[in-house]
């Protein structure tokens, strides 16, 4: 059979039509579905054609109305017609066209299908009525593609069959008589036809039409089954590979940011996409307070414990986001936060091999160190002098204490001046020269770099009649903003599906991912005061004027360290440049996953699935510190006897190794039922059970005196105590082992019932047994279930003639999901310490969990009411979901009277109520032949209230920590003190509950004086969403994505507590109060040893900022090179694109602070700099 098609979106005749059709079917259908709108209104056709090829006429009708034509054979294509109409309907026009031709047509939705008049199915069936005995036939869809696996049976008999790979079936030796033949196929309208068997063979061909007006079978996946979208009652968000590929990233979550309403992705470490634990994301906000907050991730049918970085976004075919109870409750006690179901790409049956290739190169601007509120050199020197003058520096502690000491150049100078060891003139001279040094000059030059990333993908897919395969490989690498850091990733992916027989199908899938990370850089970590060894002061020079790298003494004064070195200690100086050069730190991870399955179709109505998945990941961290590194020297010195100079840690290198392994399996048995329950009803059900085990294990090892050339280490005495500069210490024992086993045994069931294709009902049920709550705890481990219904209003008679509505559904669901918390147990748990008792060197254990017999899983009840619609000839489609959620039995740390022996305990005592709205809209603004503009909007509203707390403390301390749940308030509510200005001594004042001004650090302020604080907002955005626009002009496509968050606040970090560590000082200190009168012009307090606690000042309303923002995330310009016109025969499609990422940000706060990356003086990540991404994509 030869088939021609055309629509305006599909080029003609540049490939043989069959191949085009087979290979591009999905794409074609997708495009057809998307491009049905007419720019000229409803079915007003004007034609004036004389002796015109019918094909041209169709093309003209298509342009005017958006109708798409399907036909077979060349005769219709070559037919010439005369037709003159003006503002005619489609029927009038077509009837005129066909009046002298042997064709009939049928309009299905926006598609026109033509058939030879005499070859209609009914005619054929009639023609063969007299032939007895044997029935053979073929089932195809409306464009002739065989439907494989369709169920065919003769009603009231045992005759049943499933179509083979050619869509064919046969029944032998059928007794003479009258029969009703029934054909069903998922996603297609049920076909029924009466036939009469007399004698001789009967051959009948059937054409099936997609159910409910949909051309393509769009399905959503729960991980257990694929549900046709039109039967789905729950809130599913569908993200296609097209959406993912449009966003250039090696990170899946970053690629799906803004793709569906309710999904909030917070992109972490923007310069690094190939590392683990990068992003966090949520679906419809938070439903828990202390338990797991991340959604469950399901990969090709099974939950995965692997980090998402192991999955190459280019391999993803689709992602279904399960948002409500009906969608997610099949996943039971792990579904409360929603589920992300990832389906990877598969080959296609009957498809020639197809190769696709893509490469992207990402150039990112230099890291903006200036974004951080770092005090400049002059400011830091002035601050240090004041701290020394006021006796706050040097800090009063032992010179060899393990706490960070502050022996910065600035404080040493000020101390010298104070003690009279240098003159005022010398001091001024030094300060003047240091003040000229730029805070980020050498830092930027020696420790940071402009990030660069690249990714290359190759995929081959194809299939025969009985098997289909997909193979892909990719390589990605990146240089993040820390100089000397490097990450890369290799993925290999293979999937196969083989139809062993008509009833038996075998599937196998595997992927391997190798991640390598080199962390030799220092990067931003030199800003963290906690990393006391390497904190840089702004005037510090890494390299001196002669190009020689400088030494820094952080442990003590340079003098003290030198004298120790002379006494036989190792050099105790730190040198940034050398430390980076000597570093040898790697993290390598290998992950693989194998999935196999067998599907046996026992009867057309009954299939059995058995599936097994095993996934493993091996993560090895290997940090080698050569004898030259500060790390090794510091360790040796720290365990050197002060008297005998015996080295507890031998002189030499140190090797720190650790392994973290995941070892999981999942076994599932499932029965799929699709029984015939009458003419108007359909029932699909699954029942199954599964076993799951996850094992997280790890070990760590420290080798002292390690020689990387000989591969030897030195035995160490872990028992003897050394009288070191840090006290009496034993050498830390580096061996650690962990092994955590979790097991689940679960049973589940799900059904969808459909009546007259107008009413759908669904339900699901699941019960989990798990070791997490103990086997004795049946009473609390209740089954989780959901119910849902859907009403297709468009199919009701009262809307049949409402032309502006193409589709209108109402959905409602109700049900329960669960959530778990692996950190607690109903039993008294003690943990042995990995180290020995420091006093008697014996092993010991600690109570980590008091006996807590009332523990149970958390439950989340969700009600979802929604509508889906397609309006105005598909110009506008979308959905609106409203949901109400109640989280019950939430675990919370409740304060326990310390008299009982511990201070807190987890208990199922909290409740939370949430609600929200998800809106998705897709539409065309303009659609002409050469120019199209379409938009998609996702808008989400989500909020919650803590409905019940337990042991809530009505204290200032409790209220001012936004993480603490407060009854009646949103989780994450910000309470702040009310700033009352500075007094005439420069001390920060606040108002107490009675409205009196008191010192901010007045410790007599009654902790229960809640009048002293006020509610100033929430920390998570109640409103968020995205706006995507696509402009197409001929071969150019411009795509823009804007994301936004609104309605929330953040507390701007300010001065920092210089009394605990002056290096934590922020730029705000430059504006501090210095003399009376300054209080009129500044809000930054003075340095006052009597009022040294700035906590309440920093938590005051002065620093609450509106966090709302709009971000221009992506602008992508794609040029589809017209390879056909250029006659580039070697390639089928070739797209080149350029993307600008993070080009603009509009913030509501006036400081230009990106609320996703709140700047602190010890920030570990910077906001993303602008990136430019070049990409090539080709299909062969």
């Amino acid at each position: 059979m030869k088939i021609n098609t055309f629509s305006m979106a599909v080029p003609k005749a540049w490939l043989s039509p069959q191949i085009l059709l087979i290979m591009k079917l999905t794409t074609l259908l997708l495009i057809i579905a998307l491009m049905q709108a007419s720019a000229k209104g409803y079915s007003q056709i004007t034609l004036n054609a004389t002796n015109a090829p019918l094909e041209k006429v169709f093309e003209s009708i298509n342009q005017q109305t958006g109708y798409v034509f399907f036909y077979t054979g060349t005769d219709i294509k070559n037919a010439k017609v005369n037709v003159q109409v003006k503002n005619a309907s489609i029927d009038e026009t077509l009837n005129k066209c066909l009046q002298n031709l042997p064709y009939t047509y049928k309009i299905i939705d926006k598609n026109v299908v033509f058939q030879h008049k005499e070859e209609s199915f009914i005619d054929k069936a009639k023609a063969f009525f007299n032939l007895p005995g044997k029935i053979t036939g073929k089932v195809t869809d409306s464009i002739g593609t065989p439907l494989i696996g369709a169920s065919v049976r003769l009603d009231q008999t045992n005759y049943q069959a499933v179509t083979n790979t050619n869509g064919e079936f046969n029944f032998d030796a059928v007794p003479t008589g009258k029969y009703k033949i029934i054909i069903t196929y998922i996603g297609y309208q049920k076909l029924e036809q009466n036939i009469e068997i007399n004698a001789g063979p009967v051959t009948i061909n059937f054409t099936m039409y997609p159910s409910f007006g949909h051309l393509s079978e769009v399905t959503v996946s729960t991980g257990y089954q694929d549900i046709p979208e039109e039967r789905a009652t729950g809130a599913f968000g569908k993200i296609t590979s097209k959406d993912i590929e449009r966003r250039e990233s090696s990170d899946i979550l970053e690629s799906i940011e803004g793709s569906t309403a309710g999904l909030l992705v917070n992109v972490g470490s923007p310069d690094q996409s190939l590392i683990k634990n990068r992003d966090n994301f949520s679906i419809r906000g938070v439903s828990t307070i202390n338990s797991v907050t991340t959604p469950l991730i399901v990969l090709d049918g099974f939950p995965t414990e692997l980090d998402l970085v192991n999955i190459n976004p280019a391999d993803v075919e689709s992602i279904t986001v399960l948002k409500d109870a009906a969608a997610a409750s099949i996943w039971g006690i792990r579904a409360a936060n929603g589920v992300l179901v990832i389906t990877t790409k598969k080959g296609k049956f009957n498809s020639a091999p197809q190769v696709s290739y893509s490469s992207t190169f990402t150039f990112t601007g230099s890291p903006r160190l200036s974004y951080l509120p770092l005090l400049n050199s002059a400011g830091m020197l002035s601050l240090e002098k004041e701290l020394v003058d006021k006796g706050i520096l040097p800090m009063q502690q032992n010179p060899f204490s393990s706490l960070p000491n502050v022996y910065t150049t600035g404080s040493q100078l000020a101390l010298g001046l104070k003690n009279g060891t240098i003159s005022q003139q010398q001091y001024n001279q030094q300060v003047a020269s240091l003040s000229g040094i730029n805070v980020d000059g050498q830092y930027q030059k020696y420790l940071l770099q402009s990030p660069f990333a690249q990714q290359h993908n190759v995929a081959i897919s194809g299939g025969s009649a009985t098997s289909r395969n997909y193979f892909s490989a990719s390589y990605a690498s990146e240089n993040p903003n820390a100089k000397n850091d490097f990450d890369d990733r290799i993925t290999v992916n293979f999937s196969n599906e083989t139809r062993i027989s008509q009833k038996l199908t075998f599937t196998a899938q595997s992927f391997v991912t190798i991640l390598n990370q080199k962390t030799d850089g220092i990067g931003l970590s030199a800003l963290e005061p906690d990393k006391s060894q390497i904190t840089l002061s702004p005037y510090d020079q890494l390299v001196n004027a002669n190009g020689v790298s400088n030494n820094f003494s952080y442990r003590s004064t340079a003098h003290a360290l030198d004298s120790l070195q002379n006494a036989g200690f190792q050099n105790w100086n730190y040198n940034y440049i050398n430390e980076m050069a000597n570093a040898d730190n790697t993290e390598n991870s290998l992950a693989y996953r194998l999935t196999t399955g067998l599907n046996y179709q026992i009867l057309p109505a009954i299939g059995v699935d058995v599936k097994y998945m095993i996934e493993k990941s091996y993560d090895k961290t290997n940090d080698y510190y050569s004898p030259d590194t500060y790390y090794a020297r510091n360790l040796i010195n720290s365990y050197t006897d002060i008297n005998s100079h015996v080295n507890g840690v031998p002189v030499g290198g140190v090797l720190n190794q650790s392994d973290a392994d995941q070892n999981n399996y999942n076994l599932r048995g499932q029965i799929n039922l699709n029984p015939d329950i009458g003419r108007d009803s359909r029932l699909y059900a699954i029942v199954g059970g599964e076993l799951r085990q996850t094992v997280s294990s790890g070990d760590g090892n420290v080798a002292y005196g390690y020689d990387d050339r000989l591969l030897t280490a030195t035995p160490v005495d872990y028992v003897t105590k050394y009288n070191t500069t840090l006290g009496n210490l034993v050498v830390p024992y580096g061996q650690t082992f962990t092994n955590l086993v979790d097991k689940y045994a679960s049973a589940y069931a799900n059904f969808t019932y459909s009546y007259k294709a107008k009413y759908d009902l669904s339900g699901s049920f699941r019960k989990d047994n798990s070791n997490l709550f103990g086997s004795a705890n049946d009473g609390t481990n209740v089954p989780l279930y959901s119910f849902g219904g859907k009403w297709h209003l468009k199919d009701e008679t009262f809307l049949t003639n409402t032309d502006w509505i193409s589709e209108l559904n109402l959905r409602a669901t109700y049900g329960y999901n669960g959530n778990i918390n692996k950190t607690n147990s109903p039993y008294l748990i003690i943990a042995t310490s990995p180290s020995v008792n420091p006093i008697n060197s014996g092993p010991y254990a600690t109570v980590v969990n008091p006996a807590n017999p009332e523990l149970s899983p958390e439950r989340v009840k969700t009600i979802n009411i929604a509508t889906d619609f397609t309006l105005f000839k598909s110009r506008l489609s979308g959905s609106v979901d409203a949901y109400w959620r109640k989280s019950l039995d939430l675990l919370g740390q409740v304060a326990i009277n310390p008299t009982y022996g511990f201070t807190s305990l987890e208990a199922n005592k909290l409740e939370m109520a949430g609600r929200g709205i998800d809106i998705e809209l897709n539409g065309y603004e303009i659609k002409t032949r050469n120019f199209q503009w379409s938009s998609s909007i996702n808008f989400s509203y989500n909020t919650n209230k803590v409905a019940k707390t337990f042991f809530q403390q009505n204290t200032l301390d409790y209220y001012t920590n936004p993480a603490n749940p407060i009854q009646g308030q949103t989780l994450g509510t910000i309470y702040t003190y009310r700033f009352a200005g500075l007094n005439n001594q420069g001390d920060a004042m606040i108002y107490n509950g009675a409205g009196q001004k008191i010192y901010a650090d007045d410790y007599t302020l009654n902790e229960n004086d809640l009048g002293a604080i006020e509610k100033k907002g929430v920390t998570s955005p109640p409103y968020f969403g995205s706006l995507g626009n696509t402009f197409t002009y001929k071969n150019f496509e411009l795509y823009t994505l804007i994301t936004f968050k609104a309605g929330y606040q953040f507390i701007r970090p300010t001065i920092g507590n210089i009394f605990s560590d002056p290096r934590d000082a922020s730029a705000d200190w430059a504006n501090r109060w210095e003399k009376p009168g300054d209080e009129l012009t500044t809000n930054v307090p003075s340095i006052d040893p009597l009022h040294e606690d700035y906590t309440r000042y920093e938590e005051s309303n002065l620093f609450v900022e509106n966090a709302s923002y709009i971000r221009l995330r992506d602008v992508t310009l794609t040029y589809k090179i017209p390879v056909r016109a250029l006659k580039w025969g070697f390639v089928n499609t070739l797209d080149v694109s350029i993307t600008g990422k993070n080009l603009a940000l509009w913030t509501a706060n006036k400081y230009g602070i990106d609320p996703d990356y709140i700047p602190t003086t010890s920030a570990t990540s910077l906001p993303p700099s602008k990136s430019l991404i070049f990409s090539v994509k080709a299909n062969f």
Binding site: N728, P898, T903
Partner: protein, 460 residues
């Protein structure tokens, strides 16, 4: 030919037999365990962070401390130490934890776990479970002895049945009442725990973190001393000394210190290695700088080797000139019983029973180990009362900064000849604490009382 229905049925049973099989999900945790064996409890009892800890704040009430360094006053951490020094009405903010109270009750809770669980624990050596129960009881007795002295009025035989002690918890649950038991009940529990644990314990421990018979006698001696039962205190101090009596000569320790080294305590054995230690109970705030009063420094005198080893000069570390501090941040400031404490109890009890000269003789043995031979002079007294005063002075010298002083002052205040008003300088002002003042007794932290109002607050 098979019937598909049977296959289906089989599969169905296969699935649900393993699902209902609870055995599958029963996983024995590794690393983190529910204690079942004797050894599990042994591990729990060897947690020095829990058991070998004692209050580190009580010296701040006493005349041993004088905060004259203004820099220190402004930076003292935690602020509650300053509240204690200032005899404030409350020491801790509403939601602030009282580290002493919490540490002692954590000891009691963990000891109760062991006492409750050990009788049914499996696979221990013969007698090991009994020994561990005894250890737990000694730790529990120590915690209650500290609590009742810190948070209740001084022992007064005429009122001890009525005077509120502290909540008495003997099982590890978090639902029982926290009503304060009477002081008599607490003291009876202490004596009963000590007496019933005696039999199962060895004379001397392997590590001085573990209780032994010596520790039991020593704690009995201390308990009876605080109860004013000097005969029993003397008897038990002697029993303790009969098992352990080695004294460390500070003079011989002197040779370890390099000449001119400003931090001699570096070269002094830590409490856990000191042969004088009977049971180690370290101060829970070892880092707190204890700014010693000139009164104490004068009492010690410059030639006392305890001055040399256990005090250091402030300016060496950037402190205010003229300040002296106790010990080093590394030394645990052991508050558990030691040989010298037993000798001092022996001496005090002798002096209080009209054997002042014998008491002085005991103290002089101690003093010989605390001075260079050239600096040593024996103490002499004309009568028992004078001997007692000298012995109590020696007690103050020997045990300073180790948490004894507050409990001693409370005892002395009941005797008009020994009662004393405490004066604390603070930024030019003088704060005073009169003998017998309610403020000698620690207030109970607000967060303890607010959660369980049945706990009554001490009068202030």
């Amino acid at each position: 030919m098979y019937n598909p229905k049977y296959f289906l049925l089989l599969l169905w049973f296969a699935i649900f037999s393993f699902v209902s099989c609870k055995k599958y999900v029963e996983v024995k945790p590794e690393g983190q365990i529910t204690p079942t064996t004797v050894n599990d409890y042994q591990l729990l009892l060897n947690n020095s962070t829990v058991f070998n800890v004692s209050s580190g704040t009580t010296d701040f009430v006493t005349d041993d401390i004088a905060l004259i360094d203004t820099g220190l006053i402004s930076s003292i951490q935690p602020v509650s130490l300053l509240n204690i020094y200032e005899f404030k009405e409350l020491f801790y903010q509403t939601s602030e934890n009282d580290p002493d109270w919490n540490a002692f009750y954590q000891q009691i809770y963990t000891a109760n776990i062991a006492i409750q669980g050990l009788p049914s624990a499996t696979s221990g050596a013969p007698g090991q479970a009994q020994k561990l129960i005894a250890e737990a009881k000694v730790h529990r007795a120590y915690a209650y002895l500290c609590l009742v002295n810190q948070y209740a009025a001084v022992y007064n035989a005429s009122n001890v049945d009525k005077a509120p002690g502290v909540p008495l918890l003997l099982v590890p649950t978090y639902t029982q009442s926290l009503q304060r038991a009477s002081e008599a009940t607490i003291y009876n529990q202490i004596l009963s725990d000590l007496n019933t644990s005696l039999a199962a314990l060895p004379n001397l421990p392997v590590n001085n973190t573990d209780p032994s018979k010596t520790a039991v006698y020593a704690l009995l001696a201390r308990t009876y001393l605080y109860m004013g039962d000097y005969a029993n205190a003397l008897k038990n101090a002697d029993l303790a000394l009969s098992l352990q009596s080695t004294l460390l000569s500070l003079n011989s320790e002197l040779s370890n210190v390099p000449p001119g080294f400003f931090y001699p305590v570096f070269y002094f054995p830590l409490s856990q290695d000191n042969p004088e230690t009977i049971l180690l109970k370290a101060a829970d705030n070892q880092d707190a700088p204890l700014n010693l009063s000139s009164e104490l420094l004068n009492l010690l005198g410059p030639n006392d080797l305890r001055t040399y080893f256990f005090t250091y000069n402030g300016p060496d570390l950037g402190y205010y000139p003229g300040t002296y501090y106790a010990y080093s941040p590394y030394e645990s400031r052991n508050q558990g019983p030691t040989v010298s404490e037993m000798m001092l109890i022996e001496a005090e009890c002798l002096a209080r029973s009209q054997q002042g000269q014998q008491g002085l003789a005991v103290v002089n043995v101690l003093r010989q180990n605390r001075f260079k031979p050239s600096d040593y002079t024996p103490l002499t007294a004309a009568n028992d009362q004078a001997a007692l005063v000298l012995i109590l002075q020696e007690r103050r010298r020997e045990l300073f900064a180790k948490g004894f002083r507050l409990f001693d002052l409370k005892r002395y205040n009941t005797d008009p000849t020994l009662a004393k008003t405490i004066t604390h300088p603070l930024n030019g002002a003088q704060l005073t604490l009169a003998p017998g003042s309610n403020r000698y007794v620690y207030p109970i932290a607000t967060n303890v009382i607010s959660a369980n109002p049945e706990i009554t607050q001490n009068p202030r």
